[in-house]
Amino acid sequence: MEFQLNADEIAFRDELRTFLKRELTLEVFAANRDHAEQGMWSEAFTKAFRRKLGAAGYIGMGWPAEYGGGGRSRIYQAIFWDEMEYHRAPGLDRTVTYVPNAVMAFGSESQKAALLPAMSRGELSWFVGYSEPEAGSDLANVKTKAVEDGDHFVITGQKAFSSDAHMADYGWVAVRTDPNSSRHKGLTMFIVDMKLPGVSISRHATLAGWTHHSVNFDNVRVPRSMMVGEKDQGWKVIMGAIDFERAALASPGLVDYQLDRLLAWSLEDPHGNGRPADDPLVRADLVDLAVEAEGARVMNYWLASLHARGLMPQHETSLTVLVKRETSRLMDSTAMNMLGLHAPLRAGDPHAALAGEVELEYRDHLYFQFAAGGFDITRNVIATRGLGLPR
C-alpha cells in the first residue's frame, strides 16, 4: 500500500508538466483557438500536438514493447492522462487512450502492423462507431448492416453522436453482419478507412456551441482484412474495448483544474468587496468540493493500481468514472451558484467570470450525464455486475 508517487513517478510527472507548460502557453492557446467551435483548440493544432506527444514517446509509453511501446506501468499512463486533463491539453481522446489497447487486444497481426506504429507517432485520428439513432443506452440494438461480397463487406447505415468523426482517419465501427440476428449476436467490428467512397458526415450544433457529428455509410466497401476478430463475434470486442475506454474517462485532472480555478477566483478581490474565500459559507462549499476532488483522485489511482497489478477491474472502472463525472458536475453547479450575477455571462463578454469558462462547462459537461454510459446506466452496471443484484 502506497498512496504517494515514488521518486521515478514524480520525475516523470514533473518532466511531463514541464513539457505541457512549454508547449501550451497562453500565447499558443490564443493563436490556435477555433472561435467557430466555442474557442476550443483547433483541429490543426490538435493533430500537430498529438504528433508531438508521439514524438516525445508519451502515446506509446504504456504499450508493451512488442508493439514499440515503452512498457511503463498503468500508473504512468494515469499520470499522463491526469496531467493532460489538468493542463487542458488537446488530443486526449480515444485515439490515444483506448483504441490502441483495443487494436492490440483484438486486432489481427496485419492490422497491428499497419496501424500501431502510426498511432504511436500520433499520426492517426479515430472515431468510434457504436451509437446509432436507435442504439444509445441499448447498444445491442445496432442496425447498421454489413453484407459479405467476396473479399469485402458492404456497410450501409448511420452512426450517431460520433465525436470527432469529422477529423478521423479511421472508424472503429460495430455493424450487424447476420441479418437474421438480434441483440448481442450477429455483430462484427470493422476498422473503416474514412476516405472510402460512401462515407459522409453530418453536422449537429450542440448546446455547448461546438459541432458534433454523425456518420452515414452508403454501400461502403470495406476489405475483409479490416474485420476485427471473428465474424458475428463483435459483442465480445465491444465489451472488451469499453473496459479500456472507461479507464481513460476516470482521470481526475479536469476536476482538479475546476477546483483550482475556483480557488484562484475565491482568493482574488478585483472589486474591493472582499475575497470570496473569506466568506465562511463560500469556504465551506470550497471545502466540500476539495473533499470530493480528493475522492475522485484516490479512486482513479486505485483503479490504475488495480490495472498495474494485472487485475481486470470492470464495475470498479464504471464506478470511478461515475465518481469523476459526478464530482465534475458538482464543481460546475457549485461554481455557478457562487459566481452570482456574473455566472451566466458567456465567454467573450468582458465581465464574464473566469472568462466564461464555467458557464461554458456548465453546458458542455451535460454530456457526462449521458455519454459513454450515462449516470443511471452506470448505476445499473454497478448494481448488477458489481454488487450481484439480480437483473
Partner: protein, 392 residues
C-alpha cells in the same frame, strides 16, 4: 503509488474480520451495551494474544510494531463486526499518547500492561462543551508541595469504568493552550464516574475530579505543554474513527445486499428493481470513496501533524456518508430492521456515535476551511499544481 493491499495486509484484514464477525453474537453485543464495561473482557484478552492490544507499540514494550495503516485495517474490521473493545481508549488514545509524550518509566510501566490486556487505560480530554479546542478545557491542575492537585469534570471519556488509570487534560495556566496531561489511577480518592446513556457501542463516561492528588511523576510530557500531544491524539482518533465508519458502512451494505437479493415482493427479489439497485449503487459509491480516503488517512499518519489534511478529509467524508448509508440501508429493509433483534440497528447507532467522535463533519470542515485561507498549499494537498492562470 500502489493503492492495493499486499499479501500481509490482506491476511491481517481477513484475520481481523473473521475474528470480529464471529467472536460474539449480535445478541451478546447488544447485551454488552448496557453493562458497565461495555465490552467482553475475555474477547479483549484474545485480541491481546493476537497482538492487537499492543499493535502499534515497539516490541520492547510488548507490542507488535504494526504501522498505522495496518492498525486502520484492524479497526475497520472491528467496525464491520460491531465488536466492542477498548482499542480506542487503551491503545489508540493512551498507548499512542504515551509513545508520543510519555517518559521511559511511564512507557515501561504501562505499555506492556496495555498490550497484554491486563490493564485498560483511557484519556479524559473533552468537557461539558464537547468541543476540541484548548480554550474549552476548564479542569485545573495546580502544584502542591510534592505533586499536583486536579479539579474538574470531564465528559465523553471512553471506558472509564474499566480503566485502571486515566490520563487527564487539565489547565495549568491562563494562556489558551497552557495545558497539562496527568496520569491518575482510578482508585485515587476524589474520582467519581457515571456512565452516559449514549447510542452506539462505546461505553462513554462522565468523570469528576475533586481534589485529586497525584505525584510529580504523574505528568505526561512537559507541564503546560500538552496541547501538541493532544492535537496528535485527536488526529489519530479521527483517522481511526474514519476507518471504523468504513467497517460500519461495509456491514450495512452487506446486510442490505443480502436482503435485497432474498426479499421477494411483487414476485421478484426487490434487488431486481432499479429503484433499489440505484440506492445500492449509491451506497457502494460513497462507501468506496470513504474507504479509500480513510485508507489514505491512516497511511498518512506519521511524525507531528503529518496527515492533518488527509485525516480531516477522510473524517469529514465518512462522518457524512456512512450515517447516510445506514439510513438508506434501513429504507431498503423497511419494517423488519426497525425491530431491535435485526442486526442493522447495531450499525445505524454505531455510525451516529462514530461520526461524532474526534470531531464531527462540521469540525473537520472548519479545519479544512482554515487551511484554505491560512495554509493554501496544505489545503491543496501534495502541491500537485500551482493555481492556474490559464485562460483568464
Amino acid at each position: 503509488m500502489d493503492i492495493t493491499l499486499d499479501e500481509d495486509q490482506t491476511l491481517l484484514h481477513e484475520t481481523a474480520l473473521s475474528f470480529a464477525q464471529s467472536a460474539l453474537t449480535p445478541k451478546r453485543i447488544r447485551e454488552l451495551e448496557t453493562t458497565p464495561d461495555g465490552f467482553d473482557t475475555g474477547v479483549w484478552k484474545e485480541m491481546a494474544q493476537m497482538g492487537w492490544a499492543g499493535a502499534p507499540f515497539p516490541e520492547i514494550y510488548g507490542g507488535a510494531e504494526v504501522g498505522p495503516f495496518e492498525l486502520g485495517l484492524i479497526v475497520e474490521a472491528l467496525g464491520q463486526g460491531a465488536l466492542p473493545s477498548p482499542l480506542f481508549s487503551s491503545v489508540i488514545e493512551v498507548g499512542m499518547l504515551l509513545l508520543d509524550a510519555g517518559s521511559e518509566d511511564q512507557k515501561r510501566e504501562w505499555l506492556p500492561q496495555i498490550a497484554s490486556g491486563d490493564a485498560i487505560l483511557t484519556t479524559a480530554i473533552t468537557e461539558a462543551g464537547g468541543g476540541l479546542s484548548p480554550q474549552e478545557i476548564r479542569a485545573r491542575i495546580e502544584p502542591t508541595g510534592n505533586g499536583f492537585r486536579i479539579d474538574g469534570a470531564k465528559l465523553f471519556v471512553r471506558d472509564a469504568g474499566a480503566a485502571k488509570a486515566i490520563i487527564c487534560l487539565a489547565r495549568a495556566g491562563n494562556k489558551p493552550d497552557e495545558l497539562t496531561l496527568a496520569l491518575v489511577r482510578t482508585d485515587a480518592p476524589g474520582i467519581t464516574r457515571r456512565r452516559l446513556d449514549a447510542a452506539g457501542g462505546e461505553a462513554l463516561w462522565e468523570v469528576r475530579f475533586e481534589n485529586v492528588t497525584v505525584d510529580a511523576d504523574a505528568i505526561v510530557g512537559q507541564s503546560g505543554q500538552a496541547w501538541p500531544h493532544v492535537a496528535r491524539l485527536l488526529l489519530r482518533g479521527a483517522a481511526f474513527k474514519a476507518a471504523e465508519l468504513v467497517g460500519i458502512g461495509k456491514a450495512s451494505l452487506a446486510l442490505t445486499l443480502d436482503y435485497a437479493k432474498t426479499r421477494i415482493q411483487f414476485d421478484k427479489p426487490i434487488g431486481s428493481f432499479q429503484g433499489v439497485q440505484h440506492h445500492c449503487a449509491e451506497m457502494f459509491r460513497d462507501l468506496e470513496v470513504s474507504r479509500l480516503l480513510a485508507w489514505q488517512a491512516a497511511g498518512s499518519l506519521g511524525d507531528g501533524l503529518a496527515g492533518a489534511r488527509e485525516v480531516a478529509i477522510a473524517k469529514l467524508k465518512c462522518s457524512r456518508a456512512i450515517p447516510a448509508l445506514t439510513r438508506t440501508a434501513h429504507q431498503i429493509h423497511g419494517a423488519i430492521a426497525y425491530y431491535r433483534d435485526y442486526p442493522l440497528e447495531l450499525f445505524y447507532h454505531r455510525a451516529i456515535a462514530a461520526q461524532a467522535a474526534y470531531g464531527d463533519a462540521a469540525h473537520h470542515r472548519r479545519v479544512l476551511a482554515a487551511m484554505l485561507t491560512n495554509d493554501l498549499p496544505q489545503f491543496r494537498g501534495q502541491g500537485r499544481h500551482e493555481l492556474p492562470v490559464h485562460y483568464f
